[in-house]
């Protein structure tokens, strides 16, 4: 519906009523006045006609044209009427204003005919002779009981009509004046009504714009007051609800942002609707960059897409593992359909858990069990094989027997070493857990010397020399046997992987709050990709070679654990072909 201003609703009705009333009044007044006038005039004219008739009667020969014409002229002039004498056959005998000879037969004039029948007649019509509206009355002129002629008296109606017209004009003028007053009044009334409405509108507009703190004032119109109060209440409730919703949203946002799991919501086209902070961090994108883009543009990973597709295609909870191989990350993904409040499907939500660490630990455990079994099995198999050979009769020949027993001895020693190392590791782990090792302050140099002497045999075999840099007075709080073992493990390693005759540098220094023991060799070095896993149990850079050299695969693991139980750490720096430096960091006293 087209809306208009209030004044246009009020004004036309007012104007219609006023103008209608005025027109009706003027019409009624004009009619009444005119008919009253006509009757009065008619009466006068009848009187005049009778007087003319009486006057004619006194004439000797009344119907002689000269006589009648003279009388008519005289009386007509005196009274201001037009007086005509018509014979019953219709010829005009006399007329006060015209020459009777020029007038046609008057027999069919309505007033004449009525007068002939009823003794009097009147008519109002347009006179062709005088070219104006006229009122005619006619009475018979009786001479010797016989109608000898008709006396007709007439008067122009212009005067009467003029008077009525003046009256009508006045009434109309008054009507217009009243209409003008009505316009002004309508404007005033509509203004009275609209001003509070305007105020209410402004207030409502402010509400609409979000400013819910303002309140609408009360005013004199009670209907508008009700409206204002309702609007105020609405604003209050709206504000309350918005507060609730905002609070809930903030809580959810905070929850969403703080989650360590990545959350990604996608629409049915796999376009991203929402991501949380964790997802932004994981995929190294900002939310602004990835909203509206396809998941595939952000993370190109077939496993992830498969899960997204599955989540989009089913109502069930789907899950799967995702390996982001270019980043070396393992993720566990859960996906489920995303629905709007109406229950319609609008996409899917994925929750990604970073399981890289778990994955690594799991792999470590698996490897460890496999490695331990393998490492234990090799010497045992060998020992059993040679014992069987001996039992089968090889013991008869002394040279064979001695050789086989020698091998059995070596393998048994290796088994022993392996078990020793495993036990050392196990006890180190236990002690680390209970943080209970005996620590005393000792001279570091003596400990290092003891460590070197432990692997004297290996060094001598390859004619290697250890260069020691350690201040005599440097003291450290440590468990001497453990550190001795760690140092000897490192020197042993350095000896194994270096060519004969090279030098190993063993140094100990105080660096800030730490004491660093370093073992530097000039061996073959280690490739960078092995370094992060080097201290793992049984981790071997070169599987065949290490075993051939007699290692248990636990040496560096022990070094790391020794450092850990002292509250320190171990690390390695290496360059293939140039050599490696292993360091043990111990907290200084």
């Amino acid at each position: 519906m087209r809306s208009t201003r209030l004044i246009w609703q009020i004004l036309p009705a007012h104007l219609f009523v006023i103008l209608g009333a005025m027109i009706a009044a003027s019409w009624l007044v004009a009619r009444t006045v005119r008919s009253f006038h006509y009757e009065e005039t008619e009466r006068k004219l009848f009187s005049a006609a009778r007087l003319v008739s009486e006057r004619l009667a006194v004439e000797a020969d009344p119907l002689k044209p000269e006589t009648a014409d003279a009388v008519c002229d005289r009386l007509g002039k005196a009274a201001g009427y037009r007086v005509t004498v018509v014979l019953p056959r219709g010829e005009v005998v006399a007329d006060s204003e015209r020459d009777p000879a020029t007038l046609d037969n008057h027999r069919d004039r309505p007033e004449i005919r009525a007068a002939l029948v009823a003794g009097r007649g009147s008519s109002r019509r347009f006179s062709n002779t005088l070219r104006m509206n006229m009122l005619y009355v006619a009475v018979p002129f009786v001479e010797r009981d016989r109608t000898a002629a008709m006396i007709r008296v007439s008067l122009p109606l212009a005067r009467v009509d003029g008077a009525v017209a003046v009256l009508q004009r006045r009434i109309l003028a008054l009507g217009l004046l009243l209409a003008a007053v009505a316009v002004v009044l309508s404007a005033l009334i509509s203004r009275r009504i609209t001003r509070p409405l305007q105020t209410a509108r402004k207030g409502a507009e402010a509400f609409a714009a979000g400013n819910l703190d303002g309140r609408l004032p009360t005013c004199v119109i009670s209907e508008v007051n009700v409206l204002s109060r309702t609007l105020n209440r609405m604003a209050e409730q709206l504000k309350e609800r918005i507060n609730t919703v905002t609070q809930q949203r903030d809580q959810q946002q905070a929850l969403f942002a703080c989650m360590t799991e990545c959350v990604i919501a996608v629409d049915p086209d796999r376009r991203i609707i929402q991501v949380n902070k964790a997802a932004e961090r994981l995929f190294e994108v900002s939310a602004d960059d990835c909203l509206g883009r396809n998941v595939v543009e952000i993370v190109r990973n077939a496993e992830l897409h498969e899960i997204v597709d599955r989540a989009l295609g089913t109502d069930e909870l789907v899950e799967g593992d995702v390996h982001l191989f270019d980043r070396g990350l393992h993720l566990q993904a859960h996906g489920t359909a995303l629905r709007n409040p109406g229950g319609g499907r609008i996409g899917a939500v994925l929750v990604l858990n970073d399981t890289t660490r778990l994955h690594r630990l799991e792999a470590l455990r698996r490897d460890f069990v496999a490695n331990v079994s393998h490492e234990l099995k090799t010497p045992v198999t060998s020992i059993r094989g040679f014992i069987e050979t001996l039992l089968d009769g090889a013991a008869e020949k002394k040279s064979d027997r001695d050789r086989f027993l020698g091998i059995i001895d070596t393998q048994a020693a290796r088994l022993h070493r392996l078990l020793e190392d495993l036990l050392t590791l196990a006890s180190l782990e236990n002690e680390a857990e209970r943080s209970k090792i005996d620590i005393e302050e000792v001279s570091l140099r003596s400990v290092l010397n003891a460590g070197v002497s432990l692997c004297r045999a290996a060094l001598d075999a390859k004619e290697m020399h250890v260069e020691m840099h350690c201040a005599e007075e440097l003291k450290a709080s440590l468990n001497a046997p453990l550190i001795e073992q760690a140092v000897s493990n490192l020197i042993d390693n350095a000896a194994k992987y270096s060519d004969a005759g090279k030098t190993i540098v063993l140094s100990a220094d105080r660096e800030g709050k730490e004491i660093v023991v370093r073992v530097r060799d000039e061996g073959c070095g280690i490739e960078k990709r092995h370094l992060p896993r080097l201290f793992e149990r049984f981790y071997r850079v070169d599987k065949g070679r290490s075993r051939k050299l007699g290692g248990t695969g636990l040496g560096l693991a022990i070094v790391k654990h020794v450092a850990t139980v002292h509250g320190g750490r171990a690390d390695v720096r290496s360059e293939p072909g140039k050599g490696s430096t292993f360091s043990i960091y111990l907290p200084a006293a």
Partner: protein, 240 residues
């Protein structure tokens, strides 16, 4: 152009990237198979290969549909034409991954001839080039694409180096001939994968700049690519 057209173009882009992701996964699986010396890691690849083949058909069909329905021009047309070329390249990468698996099957029956050092490096490089080419396509970045193209030489060098090294093994002990041959073929397959990645990168440059840099020699031709005119026509007789 109607919005439906844009939607269809984006859909094609996403599907192509999904296909690329599968190919990346396949290449990665071949690398781990070799590095871990464990043939079971290769098992999922055959299924992925089927998927890649199916996706190639689907995407090409959709491209033909989009071209015939909308009769696109300029960069949109270039995009659509290149999509079909890229699906071919990606499908061939999948084929090469299958080849590597095929060669590895015989090779992995024996203990390794020597520690794998250069081969994984090559594999990583080829995989990275594929990833970067797809990134360049994602972001419509000719600069990134040119960077991929420039890397190709290094893969080729590694391939040559590996080949020479392996020859010395054969000369030392002819018995290792079969294993060396497998290694040579595998390294050749990775080199081919890198070549396909380069071809994808060149297609990206053509989409964005309308400049055909296939068969361009030297890096000067490439760097100058950034000033190429939009919508340049190219000689169509150079189809490989």
């Amino acid at each position: 152009m109607p919005r439906q057209f844009d939607h269809d173009l984006n859909g094609l882009k996403d599907r192509l990237l999904t296909m690329g992701a599968l190919a990346e996964q396949m290449v990665h699986a071949t690398t781990t198979t070799l590095v871990e010396w464990d043939m079971s890691l290769f098992e999922p690849v055959a299924e992925m290969e089927n998927k890649v083949d199916q996706m190639q058909k689907d995407i090409d069909e959709e491209t033909v549909r989009v071209i015939s329905v909308y009769t696109p021009v300029a960069s949109d047309l270039r995009f659509l034409l290149m999509v079909t070329r890229m699906t071919t390249a990606i499908e061939r990468i999948g084929d090469q991954a299958m080849n590597i698996g095929f060669y590895a099957k015989t090779m992995l029956k024996h203990p390794p001839l020597k520690p794998l050092i250069d081969l994984p490096r090559m594999a990583d490089m080829a995989a990275k080039m594929l990833g970067e080419a797809l990134d360049a396509f994602t972001h419509a970045s000719p600069e990134a694409a040119v960077a991929v193209i420039k890397k190709d030489d290094r893969v080729d060098d590694l391939n040559d180096q590996l080949f020479r090294e392996l020859i010395t093994y054969v000369m030392g002990d002819p018995a290792v001939m079969t294993q060396v041959l497998e290694l040579v073929l595998i390294s050749r397959a990775y080199e081919r994968i890198a070549d396909h990645a380069v071809s994808i990168a060149k297609d990206v440059v053509y989409i964005v700049q309308g400049k055909d840099i296939r068969h361009a020699t030297g890096t000067d031709d490439l760097t100058e690519g950034s000033t190429a005119r939009e919508g340049t026509s190219r000689d169509s007789d150079k189809q490989p």
